[in-house]
Amino acid sequence: MFEIFGIPSQALFGQLLIGLINGSFYALLSLGLAVIFGMLNIINFTHGAQYMMGAFAAYLLLQHTGIGYWPALIVAPILVGITGMIVERTMLQWLYKLDHLYGLLLTFGLALIIEGVARNYYGSAGLPYTVPESLQGGRNLGFMFLPNYRAWVVVASLTICLGTWFVIERTRLGANLRAATENPTLVRAFGINVPRMITLTYGFGVALAAFAGVMAAPIYNVSPQMGAELIIVVFAVVVIGGMGSILGAIITGFGLGVIEGLTKVFFPEASNTVIFVIMAIVLLVRPAGLFGRRA
């Protein structure tokens, strides 16, 4: 046991780990927002509610069909992603020609509906979801105790984030996607079905949120309002990083999670507000965001 700046190492590294975990969720969610925004030009306010749906899907799969954590990690994002695609086909697609603001208002309304329905059936109290057996326990690293599940969350989210970056920036599919973002009409002339691409992109972004939700279920309780406040923080993360760069979104997400964790150690009163304060500073110094291009 040793101390750093008068803080026991156990506490410091513990908070750093929590910071990394929160950062994993910020990264996954802001990545999804960036992908959706790139293609649909819509800020998906429903993202927090879809994250919550992912957690609930995992919970319900376990309660009613006995499907455990590992299959749920695949099944829940697919199910929630499909609901996302239905939303895109039935509602969002009518808004592309209008002001961006209508997309925000519509998805905000959807978020209220989803949260309200969940609250009616499951109340505001959290429902527990146990850590899968294979990831229970942890190991002692000498300077801190590392629970296996938390290590898994950080590794898994980093893998998914980098995988998404690879697909979008380094593959043929990603090249088509980026081309369709720049000039949809031209890409259609090449025989690529852009509307279907948009639907799938939205489905994928939503599935990312649901995936984060399943991973969050054993850490935080499963509750109807778990996504509502998180999404506002993620908005601040997106403003800080700018939505132009995938890698930027990932770095900003993890970085801010760690900063938030450190604030909890050194200045706990400010831990709720630190990300917003950083956002204000970034707006003053680099209005376009750390990785953004000037619009």
């Binding site: 800020i43 309304g109 009616n120 997106v238």
Partner: protein, 322 residues
């Protein structure tokens, strides 16, 4: 020449040209008779929110800026007004001024940060700043945290008129609301308001015409925040309480909903929207849990089916301005 014009056409065009004035007269008349038919407390609540929605509408309707954090000015103004009336013993008009001044100052700071980004980012920045100040309100000592500031005295207006009487309070609220409403009407129809509309339609062109659009946007933002502050302070005095509900993001969403239902960019829309939403919340009290869902459904229906809002649709059908 006069004789050539069909008098009925002239009467009709006069009616069209004065549609806003006629609607205003109808609204004033309705506010005078309303307390004999509905609970004055309900009316005062609706009027506070109507002024709040009108203030919000200055930004979204006439500058095209969606602020998703207007609860910040509404809620913080109500905290300051409540604190001034209860702890400092201010008279109600001074308490309301204190809250209003606080909202203006917050609007200046938040506005100068938010206008550095456009469009969708603007909405996210305002929402995030409001959430930050929600946490400040949650932790600050003087706001009373979860309890809020309770038992705020209504006091005596100018030290003379006792406001504990419901009807006296109602008259004061109506006067404040109408003053705010007329003020907003004047802003929108002034040369300054015309520049705001030019920015809404085409900011790049307004810049090329030599307007410093950032200054116009900031001034509009501060005016909007200030008027939201008047509404919030008045509400604190009327209901004798300031609480976390009024600074939370759901409140920011509610004012967007009121304005959207009534009609973005119409003068009377936010008023109609506020009355509809507040009435819904009061009369559907048994459906407590479903209010959130119903609000969400209204949002979706408005965006997909009638983007003009109720007053906007009526104005469109009758081809008049409202």
């Amino acid at each position: 020449m006069e004789r050539l014009v069909d008098p009925t056409i002239r009467a009709e065009s006069a009616w069209r040209a004065n549609s806003e004035k006629i609607a205003f007269a109808v609204m004033v008349a309705a506010l005078i008779v309303a307390p004999f038919f509905a609970y004055p407390l309900f009316l005062m609540q609706a009027l506070c929110f109507a002024l709040f929605a009108c203030a919000f509408n200055v930004l979204i309707g006439y500058v095209g800026l969606l602020s998703f954090g207007h609860a910040l000015y509404f809620g913080w103004a109500s905290y300051l007004a409540a604190h001034a009336a209860k702890v400092w013993g201010f008279t109600p008009e001074l308490a309301i001024l204190t809250g209003t001044f606080a909202a203006a100052a917050l609007g200046l700071v938040a506005g100068s940060l938010a206008i550095r980004r456009q469009g969708i980012y603007f909405a996210m920045v305002t929402l995030a700043l409001a959430q930050m100040m929600y946490f400040v309100a949650l932790q600050a000592k003087f706001t009373g945290g979860e309890d809020g500031i309770q038992a705020v005295p209504r006091g005596k207006l100018f030290g003379l008129i006792d406001l504990t009487n419901v009807m006296t309070m109602y008259v004061v609220v109506v006067v404040i609301f109408l003053a705010g409403f007329v003020f907003i009407y004047r802003i929108i129809h002034s040369p300054f308001g015309e520049v705001l509309k030019a920015i809404r339609e085409n900011e790049a062109r307004a810049i090329s015409l030599g307007y410093k659009t950032d200054r116009y946007k900031l001034l509009a933002f501060v005016l909007s925040a200030t008027l939201a502050g008047v509404a919030g302070s008045t509400k604190a005095i009327v209901f004798q309480i300031a609480s976390l509900t009024d600074v939370y993001w759901t409140m920011s969403g509610e004012v967007v909903l009121m304005t959207l239902v009534g009609g973005l960019g119409t003068i009377f829309g936010p008023v109609a929207g506020a009355f509809i939403i507040i009435a819904m919340q009061n009369y559907l009290n048994d459906l407590d849990q479903w209010v959130l869902v119903i609000q969400g459904v209204i949002f979706v229906a408005c965006v997909l089916l009638f983007r003009r809002g109720i007053v906007g649709e009526i104005a469109h059908l009758l081809r008049i301005k409202l």
